[in-house]
């Protein structure tokens, strides 16, 4: 809600300066409240010598200049709408208009639902001209329109994933080979032959992280094979909730493999949440028990190389799968097989071969194809925008920007 022009004339007349025109005050859109946005037209006198002051008074109507408080002062060639990096669908004025956002805090008291009066003054030396007053009240909003493009793209991607799942139910989809996952059977088989355990880690994050969930899902498949081969499974954890979830997953895997009697409650155990204490403990397990196969799934940090290099020194087959791009070089260097990035999320589908799961992969591929097209198209549009200086390519590019 906004109002304009409650006081039609400037409070101080000056001939060289013109009063700021077309002053609009309104509740800042797409925010949590306690904020007002002021927009006014740029003037011919704008320059470093002229300053703008934004004055705030408590409403409903305040004509007494003494009741106003100066909340901001800045050169008149600054604070433009174009500087605010707003998406075109919520831009409050033309790019050359001035914009200032008054926020609660730092000596400014703005309360939701209260009415405030705002005016803008142009100041040059001792001269000062005032705009008409405008009134508005801040209110919290229920939708961040800045992120409308993000929401639409997320929903669109979700629809594509479910469409692909539907398609996968009807016909077989091709799935490219992932050597790291083909090697799961080989690694467990080797552990069986050597009579040594399989070591499985779910990473550094907790169950709220998709990579840990993916690691837990893969653990179910690995545990099922280990149960079928009657091979011991050792799963040290850094997070108690992940441990509890993985215990259930492992138990169910042993049940499904028809070997519930082989399930050990302490196959999943907690060590510590501390990064290097955990690393030292797992390195100790590797050196003492010499597992024949080590699985590193999930997210990792500096401990990745400490774990995998120790594992490599024991001669174990090592399979890693991580979305931590900064640790990928270490895994690629020290492990026999590495699931890179999205392959970690694809593992569940690959191992289960369920059409629904494979359909999701097709959905992801379509998403990637879309992004690829957008990158190509965006490059062309951005180039056209820079070379010709026209506005329309930016309207397209804004659709794919991340606005906060």
């Amino acid at each position: 809600m906004w109002f304009i022009g409650l006081c039609p004339q400037g409070l101080s007349a000056q001939t060289t300066l013109s009063p700021p025109a077309s002053v609009l005050v309104f509740d800042t859109p797409s925010d949590g409240g306690e904020s007002l946005t002021v927009v006014w037209s740029s003037a011919a006198s704008d320059g470093p010598a002229v300053k703008y002051q934004v004055l705030l008074g408590e409403g409903p109507v305040a004509f007494d200049l003494g009741a106003f408080k100066t909340v901001a002062e800045f050169p008149s060639n600054s604070h433009y709408v174009r500087d605010a990096k707003l998406a075109w669908w919520i831009r409050p004025g033309s790019k050359d208009d001035h914009l200032f956002v008054i926020k609660n805090g730092k000596g400014i008291g703005l309360k939701n639902g209260h009415s405030y009066v705002v005016l803008v003054a142009a100041v040059s030396g001792t001269d000062r001209v005032m705009s008409a007053t405008a009134q508005a009240s801040p209110t919290p909003n229920w939708l961040n329109l800045n992120q409308l493009n993000n929401l639409i793209l997320a929903l669109l991607f979700g629809a594509v994933v479910f469409y692909a799942i539907n398609q996968a139910k009807r016909k077989d989809l091709f799935l490219r080979r992932i050597p790291g996952l083909d090697a799961v059977d080989e690694a467990i088989g080797r552990a069986t032959e050597l009579g040594k355990p399989v070591l499985y880690m779910t990473g550094a994050h907790d169950m709220s992280d998709p990579s840990t969930i993916a690691a837990a899902v893969i653990l179910g498949r690995v545990a099922k094979r280990a149960a079928a081969y009657e091979t011991e499974l050792v799963v040290p954890h850094r997070e108690p909730i992940t441990m509890a979830v993985c215990q259930e997953i492992t138990k169910q895997a042993y049940l499904e493999a028809g070997k519930p009697d082989l399930f050990k409650e302490d196959a999943n155990f907690f060590i510590t949440s501390d990064q290097f204490s955990y690393t030292a403990a797992v390195d100790g397990i590797m050196l003492r028990r010499k597992p024949a196969a080590n699985f590193f799934m999930g997210s990792y940090f500096a401990e990745s190389l400490l774990l995998t290099e120790t594992g490599a020194s024991t001669g174990a087959i090592q399979i890693a799968g991580t979305d931590s791009d900064h640790q990928l070089p270490f895994f690629v260097t020290t492990c026999d097989y590495t699931l890179i990035g999205e392959e970690l999320y694809a593992a569940s589908a690959y191992l289960s071969r369920e059409p629904i799961q494979i359909g999701t992969l097709r959905g992801q591929d379509l998403g990637k194809a879309f992004i690829l097209v957008v990158i190509g198209l965006g490059t062309v549009l951005a180039t056209i925008g820079v070379v010709t200086g026209v506005e329309w390519p930016h309207l397209m590019l804004d659709l794919f920007k991340d606005f906060k």
Binding site: E239, A302, E342
Partner: protein, 216 residues
């Protein structure tokens, strides 16, 4: 029973998943308050889950000591470490310093835990060297490319390297900012799409093996 074990968790997952996906787009203080409250709940649940973890740890090591498994002495050290740290921590009220003076609890932290952590972290330097030695042996075409790129980047990152080979600075910058950044972004796009797709699968109950078991 099957409802409590299967349908109810799936319903809770779907409801909370949808609510918190929507929460991202809602700036209203009610939405922020909801997120803050749930974050606190998670911290409280995490605190209780720690009891579960410590119980598991105690049980595992108690069994090792009982059975006198190889290395059971380490389990005794672990027990002693936990008991002493907890007792000293309680004695000092969990404070590392009182009136500027280091407490016994602070001493354990500063002179036991921190050096041990530092030692583990320091080993990384040697492991990087050994891993690099294995990888950089030019046994294949890929390894040779890796070796060449690594040498250029190393030369470009140290002052002496750039002095010996002046072009290495620009070249290493190009490798890191163009080749490396492009590949990293490609991986991140794949990871993000994979994470979103997994989230959709979990929210709508397509992926449910994290509940323990296959489809029912």
């Amino acid at each position: 029973m099957i409802f409590l074990r299967r349908q109810l968790p799936l319903l809770i997952t779907m409801a909370t998943g949808l609510v918190f996906a929507a929460q991202y787009y809602v700036p209203h203080p009610v939405s922020e308050q909801l997120l803050t409250s749930v974050t606190k709940w998670l911290q409280i649940i995490g605190g209780f889950a720690l009891i579960l973890g410590i119980t598991s740890l105690f049980q595992l090591h108690a069994a090792k000591i009982r059975r006198k498994e190889p290395g059971w002495g380490y389990s005794l050290v672990l027990y002693a470490g936990i008991v002493v740290t907890v007792l000293v921590g309680l004695w000092n009220g969990g404070k590392e310093t009182i009136d500027g003076a280091m407490t016994a609890f602070g001493w354990i932290y500063s002179y036991t835990l921190v050096p041990l952590q530092g030692t583990m972290f320091a080993i990384l330097a040697f492991f990087i060297a050994s891993a690099a030695y294995r990888s950089f042996r030019a046994r294949s075409r890929e390894a040779a490319v890796l070796l060449a790129a690594a040498v250029i980047v190393m030369m470009g990152r140290v002052p002496l390297g750039e002095y010996i080979l002046p072009i290495s600075g620009d070249l290493s910058g190009w490798i890191l900012n163009i080749l490396n950044a492009a590949v990293r972004r490609a991986i991140l796009i794949g990871v993000s799409l994979g994470a979103i797709a997994l989230s959709f699968k979990i929210i709508f109950g397509v992926e449910r093996s994290y509940l323990g078991g296959g489809r029912e």
